[in-house]
Symmetry: C2
Subunit: 213 residues, 2 copies
Amino acid sequence: MSKYQTSNKTQLALIEAAGELAAEKGFGTVTTRAIADRAGENIGSIHYHFGGRDQLLEAVLRYVAQDWIDNPLDQYIADCDLAEKTGQAEALRRAVVRFADMLFDDEKPEWHSRAVYQVLQYPSPLHDIFREIIMNREHEQVEQLLLKIDSDLSKEMLVLHFNLLLSPLITHSDYRGAILPRLNQPTYSREYLQALVDQCVEQSLLRYRLPLD
Amino acid sequence: MSKYQTSNKTQLALIEAAGELAAEKGFGTVTTRAIADRAGENIGSIHYHFGGRDQLLEAVLRYVAQDWIDNPLDQYIADCDLAEKTGQAEALRRAVVRFADMLFDDEKPEWHSRAVYQVLQYPSPLHDIFREIIMNREHEQVEQLLLKIDSDLSKEMLVLHFNLLLSPLITHSDYRGAILPRLNQPTYSREYLQALVDQCVEQSLLRYRLPLD
DNA sequence: ACTAAATTTAATCGATCGATTAAATTTTGC
DNA sequence: GCAAAATTTAATCGATCGATTAAATTTAGT
């Protein structure tokens, strides 16, 4: 298995087609036929390469997860002096910028961010896999930073503050289909995203009484 | 049509069953058989009373929407003097409290809030209906308040600030299946929700330089 | 209680789902 | 370029989907 060159190309085409469709219609409603059609491949190849529909969707999740794993927060804030208030403020900003990059960077296919978070909405095997391979790591990275800023935060409050910091980004990703029409824009403009990031950063800097600049 | 007493009871049972299932698995994956089974009714009744699966799901949406329509923001902040900073601050708090009540009040069935926002995630007829009957009204109410607080806000920035104000509540509703396990709690505790609301209010009071108390 | 209308029920329709199979084709090492 | 392995393909499987139908039952006015 997986000996010939064409195998990889087929698998990638199926993953990308499945990811696109999942982003458009949701993981639960994507059919093997629609995937095969968009990928220009055969239904049988889904089962040959992945074992079935569910395993292909899991592969989609792991494919996107790799992008998050390859860009850990640690490497974004490696040169920040977390002992200093100004270093903490800069690290907080970079945490927001990184998260926004992961969700809105237009060099990434849109389905990367669209496909990811939705699996958290309902109980499913994919839900558990996502929590294990992405969400836990993301929370731990951010919570580690928040603890440097305020060591009094309990485990409960760390969960809350994770959401206070990043939920505007998450809602802008999840509900872009509802928000963009209100903005009369086809995609978020660079200026709008900049304002979004700035406001996320500012309100957290205010919350932790860190220097605004 | 709709002449006998039993008709209303059957329709309500079907709406509630469909709402529960939609909240659990998503609108797209709910089947007529599952709805009929949970409601203790017959599949044929779905088509008899509503015309089909899609129309029943639309009825579910309108049923929940009525709860939002019956509790407009205006009546929550009617006695706030929006000309005064303290009145603006109090109105902002009540806007957050109201939204949290709509999403987390445990006197409402959980599926009310779980079912609502998910339809905004993908293009669909339900998506458009929801935007028309709920989302536009909610945005207008909050944006009207925000304009009283800061009349310089552009239409674009009003959209952004709506999300800055309320997105922590939205993510806590949408992702409760992912957040609650991190809190090791079956449901959000009263204390946690209080902290969530307080933080939402505080960060917006700080943003608009309104008095904290 | 009778009757006509409204509602509920069980059975069945064609379409489409994920999955499987065996044959056809392509790829790679030699 | 040959042979063996890997991959792709088309056809088909049973299960389940939303929808429909006609018969059975229930309801409400008289």
